[in-house]
Subunit: 355 residues, 2 copies
């Protein structure tokens, strides 16, 4: 595929998936698990979540090498009732564990109407929207919440980073319109985005971070002296806290001080917590009617007049739908530095390089 | 009770509850329902939610008089499965309908582990935390979401108020510490607070509202020319939208353009939608262990060093616990203008005045 203007080369989803599959298989994972994780990661890339797809491969392979992930986990239901389950991820890759949780929740919601599956001993699972989207094929609404894998957020007014960006993703099916997919952190920006600004030497806008004095911090190179800001101040802090309790504490997973920074420590189990909630639309109303009404809601939002300088109102998820269409047609763009990293990973594992 | 410095008189909860009970009974509600609504409203006052308790009585009585509420609703389960129900509120007062929904959800969660009850044909139900708190006595986590009763929020970048402040409340039990109670709108501030600023002629801080040009609006007297801002910009818009779909659309309740402004129209049924989610902690882990771990989370947050000028880190709900203690000891403070309104309501209904 042709190189993009900004030093990007594009690869098909199949190429990327096959490459990641051979990397995971060469790292000791069973073939089927390797293929599942590769598929879910490539789906993240298709959705345009560039920091949560193949970009993570070198880090994940490093953790497998250091014993930070269990390559052959025995993922099992530890407790269950009609409408819930608690799943032990046995320190397997988060993608496998969350995928399993979503399957169990969707299956239970078919009869119970609604089902909630909590996880412990899981790990970072990549792009949250990949999992909330799993409910759509079953005419369900999917909701996924995770304890983030590194603490960069202090409680409101505090200076100790006790919380993560604890994200939520919700997918709602529509009829003729694209599904609505909200996939957001409870902080104004992600720490990953701050790192990109630091790398490129760009100043951050006010409101993303505060410095040690509580004043605005805009110099991204000084990010480690400051703190991320939650959305809506105390409200985002409250959401990050509640999501952490629901996805972490309730499942016996880490939350707060005992969260392991995945990037700083490649060997310790993270005991990551997540939960998945599936809502079966047909239990509430005719699915076709519901989808038509979601179309109507979307049309209302699109029909709103706009503020000066705003071309049109968008729905959550429009960016991911556009990325999916572009990448289906043109492939997934990968920057040269990442390609060099991936080549090193391939050589280390003695597998064929990407392409 | 003694008058406060700022023209407040304090009344006991019993006095306030008895007064509201006689007002509702005199407005055609059955005695038991009148007492239930009065109890739930007084609970809002005890929690310090001054704009969501007895403050609302004159408006509610007005709606009952105008036929906007059904005084004798037949609240019934329309659809149900093991872990869900859809309840038809029959245009009864929202307090009755949401209280019933919470009871049904809690009952179902006892066996199913988790249960979700959606509502349509409900109405404004007062302070959200009153309902999420109902789960605490059952060692459950309660989560409540409502479609707000007037649209003051445009979609992000838009200028048509298609959304409300669609709030969420979540209550989590602790052991020795006070429970965590997050009770928040998805907007930076509420329209009620803006009205108070306008009344008092105080300038609003930047970030609460924008004017018709998209720039900051700080003159509260011009609020009707501008728009509320969602928390975290597009993120808060996304949350308000998703909460509206889950609490409104999914239940066949109004959401978007068809939301009825309760304050502008006292006669039309609002078809308000809400949902209640009960999570049974014992399905996941030992309840005592969970509560101890929540205590530990609270201690961690309290232990955080603070930014300059911040005395200490607080947990969501601390303000309501303090208000509850104060009002239990000293009574509920009511301002003179409200007392005059309440006296008029009493005289109109030929019932004894408050006191």
């Amino acid at each position: 595929m042709p190189a993009d203007a900004n030093n990007m080369q594009r690869f098909t989803r199949d190429q990327i998936e096959a490459f990641m599959t051979r990397c995971f298989a060469a790292s000791g994972m069973p073939d089927a698990d390797a293929a599942t994780v590769a598929n879910l990661m490539a789906e993240g890339d298709m959705l345009g979540k560039d920091s949560h797809g193949i970009f993570r491969l070198p880090g994940y392979i490093g953790r497998l090498k250091s014993g930070g992930f269990n390559p052959t986990p025995d993922i099992k239901i530890e407790k269950e009732r009609t409408a819930m389950a608690l799943v032990d991820g046995d320190n397997g890759m988060g993608h496998l564990v969350v995928h399993r949780a979503a399957e169990v929740a969707i299956e239970k919601a078919k009869t119970a109407g609604v089902a909630w599956v909590g996880l412990h001993s899981s790990n970072h699972a990549g792009a949250a929207g990949v999992y909330s989207n799993m409910a759509l094929d079953h005419d369900m609404i999917g909701l996924y919440v995770a304890v983030g894998s590194a603490n960069h957020l202090p409680p409101w007014g505090g200076t100790e980073a006790l919380l993560s960006t604890n994200p939520i993703a919700v997918s709602v099916p529509a009829d003729k319109e694209d599904s609505i997919v909200l996939d957001m952190a409870t902080t104004v920006t992600s720490y990953g985005k701050v790192k990109v600004y630091a790398q490129r030497g760009i100043e951050m806008p006010e409101g993303w971070m505060v410095g040690p004095d509580g004043g605005p911090l805009t110099d991204a190179s000084k990010a480690d002296t400051g703190y991320l800001l939650p959305i809506g101040g105390p409200k985002g802090y409250g959401l990050a806290l509640i999501f952490g309790i629901l996805a972490g504490t309730l499942n016996g997973a880490h939350f707060g001080k005992n969260v392991v920074d995945m990037n700083a420590d490649a060997a310790s189990p993270t005991n990551t917590g997540q939960f998945y909630l599936a809502v079966n639309i047909s239990a509430f109303m005719d699915v076709g009617d519901f989808k038509k009404q979601v179309d109507a809601v979307i049309a209302e939002m699109h029909g709103s007049p706009t503020l000066p300088g705003v071309e049109r109102v968008r729905l959550p998820g429009e960016g991911t739908h556009a990325a999916y269409a572009d990448r289906t047609a043109n492939g997934i763009p990968l920057p040269d530095p990442l390609l060099e990293n991936l080549a090193r990973v391939a050589d280390d594992l003695s597998v064929d390089r990407l392409g």
